[in-house]
Amino acid sequence: MAPYLLRRVLAVIPVMAVVVTIVFLLIHLIPGDPVSVMLGPDATPAQIQGTRQALGLDRPLYEQLLAFYARVLRGDLGHSYFLDRPVTRALAERAEPTIVLMLSALLVAVVIGVPSGIVAAAHRGSPWDRGLMLVSLLGVCVPGFWLSLNFIYFFAVRLRWLPAAGYASVLTDPVGALTYMVLPAVSLGFNQSALIARISRSCMLEVLQQDYIRTARAKGLSPRVVTYVHGFRNALVPVVAVIGITTAILIGGAVVTEIVFNIPGLGRLIISAILRRDYPVVQGVVLVTAAAYVFINLVVDVLYAFIDPRIRYD
């Protein structure tokens, strides 16, 4: 296990190096002079020169890149002029809603997805199976942000069951947090539940065709025990990997869902930063979400190797 772990952790280094380089290059993709774009048309040449020096944009590209690496390694993501605080602090202040939204959506996706897939596989070809797979095909194709708007119209505007938008912290107002979080979590998690259902179903079908399942049946065990005890445990292995991928996809989806429901998380932070041309914040959000994505994938790989010993020996 140890060599596998070490190899897997070391593999993160080149990936993160590329990620940091791409984030660094973003500012150089701005057409024209990035500093004039950032400061707007009213900036004096002296201000432009000052900011250019402060950002180090007057130095050669490789020097800027090395300086950027050094800063990132020190945990310094720059300063937001607009918010007048370090980017890391702005990120920390906005991280909670995004994390809560992601985790709630993940819960929704798993709670709906895994049982649907297992039931569909256990009753392969039945109307249940067909119905669930049809819904899941739709679920994969329905855009989450559009589903959110329809949910708002139906559950908040028409039925008035839930608030249309807003956010309350779990720490200060748990009941409020729950009512605010239901619609965003369901609309964000629904797409992914469809994906998880499809994968769970196909993993389960594969496992149910194996010899040991036939043996268990031949022993006279009830079909229920065979499916849900013998089959389910092994089908779960690839499903864990899919749940990892799902978590990563949810980071991107959360950004969009936050805009629909006015949730003050990282998504709203990056969109408002774009409108204000606050590029250090844009870079910060992208870098942190990519790092989170890489980290989640690492955790999933390690978990996967832990559950399925075959992986470690590859």
């Binding site: 590329v18 559009w146 930063a273 774009i274």
Partner: protein, 281 residues
């Protein structure tokens, strides 16, 4: 692929229900895009403040938005942007993916470098990388296409690379090499044809992702400029008036869902016919 084999897979494609339904729905969107001026009932960019937020009626089949624009005509014209972005992104990711994948699969030294770069690009949540690229380049159809092509190209590159790696050790490639064929000739004549199936399947899924991502970027206000009729832009304007007028966001979103569904069906069907190994049971 021999000449004799060709009709069989074409016939199997034509018999696959997913392919038929997917292609038929897609054809409707293609026709709508090409004939947009003829089939739309109003000028989609004309503002009629006196006619704002009227529900669906005989004059405005799908109602009007907050500026009095006809939603039906907006949806019809919006399919142009969606299909343009989808098709172009699909072509660019295929071209880029084939080039990168062939190089990586064929050249051991470049392989490591190129694949680290692809891993790095794939380490970003797709939509966030697209948002970041749009933040730098600014709104515009061409910028959307470039951003989405950069975001989705690595998937195709990795697919092509793995296809190349699995084929290059086969006997017939060894035979071609023994006959003195050059690497480039082997890659183009013997390896590339085997990539066509996976590429078509992947292409239809990337087409679907690109249409969805374009709408998301438009919805967030960082895609095509707001005055251009696109599904994402119309849904965004519908968000502001969701309390009074559900139809503004409902119909462009339904078009988006249907387009995504048709491409997913097409992709599933193509995969079943062209690449049965990839089939999910």
């Amino acid at each position: 692929m021999t000449e004799a084999a060709r009709p069989t897979w074409l016939r199997r494609l034509a018999r696959n229900p997913s392919v038929i339904v997917g292609a038929a729905v897609l054809l409707v969107f293609v026709l709508a895009a090409f004939l947009a001026d003829a089939v739309s009932t109003h000028n989609p960019t004309r503002l009629v403040p006196g006619n704002r937020l009227t529900p669906p009626s005989a004059q405005n089949y799908l109602g009007t938005d907050e500026f009095g624009r006809d939603v039906y005509s907006l949806v019809i014209h919006g399919s142009r942007v969606s299909l343009l972005v989808g098709v172009t992104t699909m072509l660019l990711t295929s071209l880029g993916g084939v080039a990168v994948g062939l190089v990586a699969g064929y050249n051991r030294r470049l392989d490591t470098i190129v694949m680290r770069l692809m891993d790095g690009l794939m380490a970003f949540p797709a939509i966030l990388l697209a948002i970041a690229l749009m933040a730098a380049r600014g709104p515009g159809v061409w910028n959307v296409i470039m951003a989405l092509s950069i975001v989705y190209m690595p998937r195709t590159a990795i697919l092509i690379r793995s296809t190349v790696l699995s084929i290059r050790e086969l006997d017939y490639i060894q035979a071609a090499r023994a006959l003195g064929r050059r690497d480039l000739a082997i890659a183009v004549r013997h390896i590339l044809p085997n990539c066509v199936g996976p590429l078509l399947v992947q292409g239809s899924f990337i087409f679907a992702y690109a249409i969805l991502a374009e709408a998301i970027l438009g919805f967030l206000g960082v895609g095509v400029p707001p005055y251009v009729p696109s599904w994402g832009n119309v849904i965004a304007s519908g968000k502001n008036v969701i309390r009074e007028a559900f139809w503004v966001s409902l119909f462009p979103g339904a078009a988006l869902t249907l387009a995504g569904l048709s491409l997913n069906l097409l992709g599933d069907g193509l995969r079943d016919v062209l690449d049965p190994r990839l089939r999910v049971q």
